[in-house]
Symmetry: C2
Subunit: 124 residues, 2 copies
């Protein structure tokens, strides 16, 4: 395992998913905190609007777990999962993420108003 | 209250504490997340090494709560309080912060090894 010491520049990786040379999704992995927290990864995901609902998000999620592990990270953490988005919460619980925190009214939902956000975590 | 809508550039503020024209500490307030999470602030604090243990951190903390409120933020959140640092946890509990999450082994402590971190939150 790579050891991310203080001041060490931890691994940042961008992965792009293509279908017939068309970009259908991507994700980026980076340290969730610099320095002494840099062994925990954070990731952001994008799926093309035209390709939603086909499992691309789940595939990217599983792929990113493997990528984060290969990069030497010890865990993967999401800081802002919208609590009312049950699809997202279930999507992440399936490959083993657990809720480790809840921020009250931390997201201004376009229809529901102020809703909670969850922090989700998976050891690698 | 200022409303931080999507794409709105939320307030970032830096405050410097001086004693006889010597900088003894500072803090910075910024949105904890962009866009629809930008009504929750995050802050970082620094106290001069030579001035530690004199309550400057607590004074900055209380001042930052007022500043965040004045800037229109709805809450102040810390993402990475080291769980074994009881002084820090107590420091923040005094003005009303509560623990809203715990990330397992998310901090590589120079002596204690991998220790948990806490997310702490205070509504404004």
């Amino acid at each position: 395992m790579r050891d991310y010491g203080e001041g060490d520049r931890a691994a940042i990786e961008r992965v792009v998913a293509e279908d017939d040379a068309e970009v259908v999704g991507s994700y980026t992995i980076k340290p969730n905190h610099p320095g002494r927290g840099a062994h925990v990864a954070n990731a952001g995901y994008m799926v093309a609007e035209s390709r939603r609902g086909r499992g691309i998000g789940y595939t990217l999620g599983e792929h990113s777990i493997e990528t984060a592990r290969a990069l030497g990270y010890r865990a993967l953490q999401f800081n802002q999962v919208v609590a009312t988005n049950e699809t997202a919460v279930r999507l992440w619980e399936r490959p083993g993420f657990v809720v480790i925190g809840r921020a009250p009214q931390a997201f201004r939902h376009p229809r529901a108003g102020l809703v909670d956000t969850l922090m989700m975590f998976r050891a690698l």
